[in-house]
Symmetry: C2
Subunit: 315 residues, 2 copies
């Protein structure tokens, strides 16, 4: 009898689902709008009924359902099954695991969404077969996750892998987390735009860039040879390399995988990062290390959810 | 039949040994001088004969010997059993594991000495029973190791946990590793003395400190209220807290254990570090986190060697 697992990726706007075999084959996937009304109180019931309905439609019987893994953007206590804080969804100290497990009557496991995106890439994407991999997601902000010796690292609050909140400048730019000098304020879409505004204020000479330019415009202008854009991209590359070098020095991974919307900038992003990285990392930590782009795109989270359930069920 | 394991801690001057039960009870311990002549080529044979002789003296028969775990100060490939580089000993790309295993005819496992000191504390010292612990050793330099989810993290070159070589100041002080701004150049004995020299050059006013003062003198002067010493200690505390905050943010450990000679400064060291740390760490990563001093002193390495052998033997 074939068995199936469900991966769920809860996002601020929509929530994605996928049904997988234990070998990592995706049978079907779909998404629904995330209902954040009333602190998202009614949304777990909708998640459960959406899964129930699809499994019925696919003809997957009760005894063929192994479990469900759910990624949530926020701080998660995986062991207790509690979402401590998911600001964009509305859950605070919310017993998501028990609520879903009761509604679905199969095992449910929860974790941070960035951790599960890392796990998904590790399972079926760019990190495949490496014992230890660092994942970084460059979108509006910076997300991250770590697989060490084949295991997802989470920590008691699931902050493990939060490289976007490692400090790169003592007493640096104020971050939304309340601290100063977080990587996130220097790279990704948010950080690039902040750098652009700083430079425009200093009047660095003519440039096609203006205060409403987006991160991808900055990368495009850099690719076209614009001096201001090149400077901004290089600064961001330096700080990203700096934080990755520190993470790689203490974790000694075999691979660093870069994903997220900003990674669409491709080699324009990667080349200066790798060049700075090679100067900044402890040499011995660089000897068995490769950079790679993520492969699963927006599906990484649902793959990761399925992997989490599989691993926690000991399969 | 009781079984025994041997832990070995190879140091630049002397090499320590301990015989342990699988429950962590130390039966006996001893040390010999490290023979670094001729790139330490003859030393593995001496390690083996010293173990052989002591096990005979203790009446531990062949079938009671489980294995040996050896810590070496340098970059180690544990899987291949090779010491890539141990500058203070003389081994370069040296097959230490195979050499010792052949001489002793029992399983041998090798790892970095700081990693094994961390493992020793985790097994029978300060990190006991915590799933994830960061260890930092403040001596002349800064060593480190990590236990995550009960497993020692090493990486393909064993650099994992090398928090002394994470960068704390962009384009900062030149480190012996060739890079700029490593933590090690701002804290521990080496960093404190470097800070002292910088401050003495700037003529910061009268102080009992002079250019030959040692790290422990600086801590004592700070405790006695000397302004210069207090400033140096606080700067060091800031950078140590900064590096620990970054490590804690991405690893999310339950405990940070501080050991090494400089940790003798006790609360004078710890209080400012913890105060800075609380401001610098991602808040969620600090919720289940405690600081503690190491408990095993110079024995941590031999305990760790025994633990490594036990774990690798699946016990």
């Amino acid at each position: 009898m074939t068995k199936y697992i469900v991966g769920v990726d809860v996002g601020g706007t929509s929530t994605k689902f996928g049904v997988f075999t234990p070998e990592g084959e995706k049978l079907t996937h779909w998404k629904i709008s995330t209902d954040t009304d009333d602190d998202a109180r009614h949304f777990p019931a909708r998640i459960a009924s959406s899964i129930e309905k699809r499994l019925l439609d696919e003809g997957i019987a009760k005894e063929e359902r192994l479990g469900v893994g759910v990624g949530v953007p926020g701080f998660i206590d995986e062991t207790a099954g509690i979402v401590h804080n998911a600001v964009n969804i509305g859950w605070h100290d919310y017993p998501l695991q028990a609520t879903l497990a009761e509604a679905l009557d199969i095992p449910v496991f929860i974790n941070n969404d960035a951790n599960l995106a890392a796990a998904g890439e590790y399972w079926q994407g760019a990190g495949k077969k490496e014992a230890s991999t660092l994942f970084i997601t460059l979108g509006t902000g910076v997300g991250g996750g770590m697989i060490i010796n084949g295991n997802l690292v989470t920590g008691p609050r699931g902050t493990a892998g939060e490289i976007g909140h490692t400090l790169v400048v003592p007493h640096g730019r104020l971050c939304t987390c309340g601290r100063e000098g977080c990587l996130e304020e220097y790279v990704a879409a948010k950080g690039l735009r902040r750098s652009l505004h700083d430079h425009l204020r200093n009047d660095d000479g003519p440039s096609p860039l203006h205060e409403n330019s987006e991160a991808i415009d900055i990368y495009k202008a850099a690719e076209a040879g614009d001096a201001l854009a090149t400077r901004i991209v290089d600064e961001a590359a330096y700080y990203l390399a700096y934080a990755l070098a520190n993470a790689a020095t203490i974790v000694n991974p075999e691979k660093i995988v870069i994903g997220g919307g900003v990674s669409a900038a491709g080699q324009t992003l990667l080349q200066p990062v790798v060049a700075h990285f090679k100067r900044l990392v402890l040499k011995e930590a660089d000897r068995h290390l490769a950079f790679e782009f993520a492969r699963l795109g927006n599906d990484a989270g649902i793959y990761g959810g399925a992997w989490l359930a599989l691993r926690r069920l000991g399969r």
